[in-house]
Symmetry: C2
């Protein structure tokens, strides 16, 4: 039981989901948690701002330690609970290097996804250009193709070798989000295979976004990627 | 000596500089290295693409392990050469948590800096809006203020406690780049103090961007941040 941990989170947010998967993998169930609504702007509430001055979710606390950056929280949980639950960092230097590389590359995937998914939300109406959105879509397509190749060429069933690692904890929710928003499984068979195979992993099944369960139909903003 | 390592880098690039500082701190001098020119588009050359399919610098290789994401390379070097040179990750859980948090937050600082510094380069002429650049500058100003506060409230002289850590390796080059491009030292006294104090640290002095030494006058694109 992890009674000295608190997680404020929002359903469907890849950064929140990462931390929840890491907590499950490290057998840290039983933490204090509260689901907040992005739509109701609860991520800008005093409760969140007290933990995370950026007004973003997740907001995560363990005792007196605050880790709001989701990747930081995942690294921290693995480091503090090394011998508990799943070992998420390998001792093999080559697999470890690949894991670190894929984790940090995920920022590219997140950024480029966001540039398409949130285009209208980020860019005021008078500043929008079809040419910009087209360029963002092309950049995301190139990025997704890269990950499709990574999975095709991966030495095992996971992103960084033959075992589930922090790379999967961190990247899986982003890939899940892409498919939720209409990424075509036929165009990206290796990504789709990875996505579908891990759906039934207990840590992922247990943390599947409740809003996705409630409404299984996602969006289609990424259908032409 | 680190004869089994190769680093392709560009002068003044914060991601490249990070890796160079990490190599110095870990006493890994003597690696194969080659300075390339961004202006001449040498980061898109076959030599780089063979290591880094993104066509970006740094491109870093240790034996058969490739780590092109600068943060990944820094984490890797600390992990593989734990007992060599400076210990860049503390055993203290609170300082470790703070270090991880600051490292991952650096992506915000890099992204928002880039949105201002490279605005004209990233956005084609017909898509530029004064309102967008103004918003980018406001976002960067808020971000820089946050880091000013972090340093003001830091428990020691460094970003994550009383000792130089991976957080400093990773964030210092980004802060250096901001001042190089005109950030006002008077407006941000704690950032300036940190920046100036670390200039003479051997790892930083030894890796100071040669193009900055050659031309000590930087730009002023960030003078009103």
């Amino acid at each position: 039981m992890a009674k000295d941990m608190t997680l404020l989170w929002g359903s469907g947010s890849p950064p929140c989901w990462r931390v929840m998967i890491a907590l499950e993998e490290k057998k840290l169930q039983g933490y204090h948690q509260k689901e907040l609504s992005f739509e109701k702007l609860e991520h800008k509430s005093g409760e969140v701002m007290a933990l995370n001055c950026r007004g973003q979710l997740p907001a995560f606390k363990h005792g007196d330690k605050i880790l709001n950056e989701s990747m930081a929280a995942c690294f921290y949980l693995e480091s503090e609970f090394k011998s508990q639950g799943t070992k998420l960092c390998t001792d093999n230097p080559k697999a470890h290097a690949l894991m670190l590389q894929r984790i940090m590359e995920c920022n590219n995937l997140s950024q480029k996804s966001g540039d398409v998914i949130y285009y209208k939300w980020k860019v005021p109406e008078g500043e929008r250009h079809d040419s910009a959105l087209k360029r963002n879509k092309e950049a995301l397509t190139a990025e997704v193709k890269l990950w499709e190749r990574y999975l095709k060429e991966a030495p095992g069933d996971f992103l960084a070798g033959c075992t589930f690692s922090l790379a999967d904890v961190i990247v899986y929710p982003t890939i899940g989000y892409l498919f939720r928003l209409g990424l075509c499984e036929k165009k990206y068979p290796n990504l789709a295979k990875y996505y579908n195979a891990l759906k039934s992993r207990p840590s992922i099944e247990a943390t599947w976004p409740p809003s996705w369960l409630k409404d299984p139909k996602g969006g289609d903003v990424l259908k032409d990627i």
